[in-house]
């Protein structure tokens, strides 16, 4: 029932970022299963398909072609089916306006993309560990806001 791994999804159009991300997760203490998507359209197609496995945490790049992270965020938060998915915005921007705006639209986590591998690992570890606490302790996800 309470399986000891976390399902994680990343949508990012940058191939290097996707690779770094998967590698960083491989090295964490918490066991994770990572799936990646190349843009928002692929991501939403998968999420809306019947056999989709919803992740505990979704990492969304803000700037993607075809469908941006912001559009995905709005669509996901308009559908109750995705209530249990914690949404982490994963972006190069750190403008106060972007940060607050995504939180207001229902994002739980805002991550400024770290520039080196070591900080990426630290950040991702912090996110999954905290999310794990919310998940296993029945904390109120409506109040889950984290900025890194």
């Amino acid at each position: 029932m309470n399986e000891n791994y976390i399902n994680v999804v990343l949508a990012d159009d940058d191939e290097d970022d996707r690779l770094f991300f998967s590698e960083a997760f491989d090295e964490l203490k918490i066991k994770t299963r990572v799936s990646t998507f190349n843009d928002g359209v692929y991501l939403m197609d998968y999420f809306n398909s019947e056999d989709a496995i919803l992740p505990q945490v979704l990492f969304l790049d803000l700037n993607m072609p075809r469908k941006s992270g912001l559009e995905c965020l709005k669509e996901l938060r308009a559908d109750e089916k995705f209530n249990d998915v914690a949404i982490a915005i994963y972006s190069t921007s750190s403008s106060e306006e972007d940060v607050e705006n995504t939180f207001v639209l229902g994002a739980n986590i805002y991550i400024k993309k770290p520039s080196d591998f070591k900080s990426l690992k630290k950040v991702l570890s912090d996110v999954v560990t905290l999310n794990w606490q919310y998940h296993t302790n029945g904390l109120n996800k409506d109040n889950f806001l984290l900025r890194l």
């Binding site: 029932m1 607050e100 794990w132 302790n137 904390l139 900025r147």
Partner: protein, 185 residues
């Protein structure tokens, strides 16, 4: 019309547990802290039926000894943070070790092994979650909350909030308020 309700999670869960036990006709005594004494040993089928009924409410029967102790640590901490009558002036390490009858070192190691976080961080997380609740539901000021949760100063609470969540208490409040406005539209 809109109404607001306040509920005590602990009593809700205890009530659900008790009702379910009564429904499955298992004779039992509630011991508190998520512990129940069952009379005799019910058959495997009865236990499976109970587990299934409880899973509806996401209540899980804890199986191994380590998880049981970790759950007790969590329950004690939550009770310590949320229950105002408790004397928070005792150091939490002393309180935990006395309540659970194990050395603090043992409890701390076990806790980190099972939960991926430390007891200290878990206490901070619970306090910050409680702070969020108090800001939103009771409309308390940070000064009142700092006093209630035994922080030495408002600055200390405010710093810990920022350190744990990455945002300040006032932007937290603003974001949640804006979300609610957005929902009304």
């Amino acid at each position: 019309m809109k109404i607001f309700v306040k509920f005590d999670l602990h009593s809700v869960c205890t009530k659900v547990l008790e009702n379910t036990l009564n429904n499955t006709q298992i004779k039992h005594t509630m011991l508190g802290f998520g512990e129940v004494d069952l009379q005799g040993s019910p058959s495997k089928e009865t236990m499976e039926e109970l587990a299934e009924k409880l899973s509806e409410y996401h209540i899980e029967i804890v199986q191994d000894q380590k998880s049981i102790l970790v759950q007790k640590i969590k329950d004690t901490i939550i009770d310590m943070v949320f229950n105002e009558d408790n004397n928070l002036h005792v150091k939490s390490s002393v309180y935990l070790s006395e309540t659970l009858d194990h050395s603090y070192g043992y409890l701390a190691n076990l806790f980190s092994e099972v939960t991926y976080t430390s007891i200290e961080n878990f206490i901070i997380l619970q306090k910050i979650e409680y702070t969020k609740q108090l800001i939103l539901k009771e409309n308390l000021s940070l000064t009142e909350i700092a006093f209630k949760l035994n922080y030495s100063s408002v600055a200390h609470l405010s710093t810990q909030f920022k350190k744990t969540t990455g945002i300040t208490p006032s932007s937290f409040q603003r974001i949640i308020a804006k979300r609610k406005e957005l929902l009304k539209k």
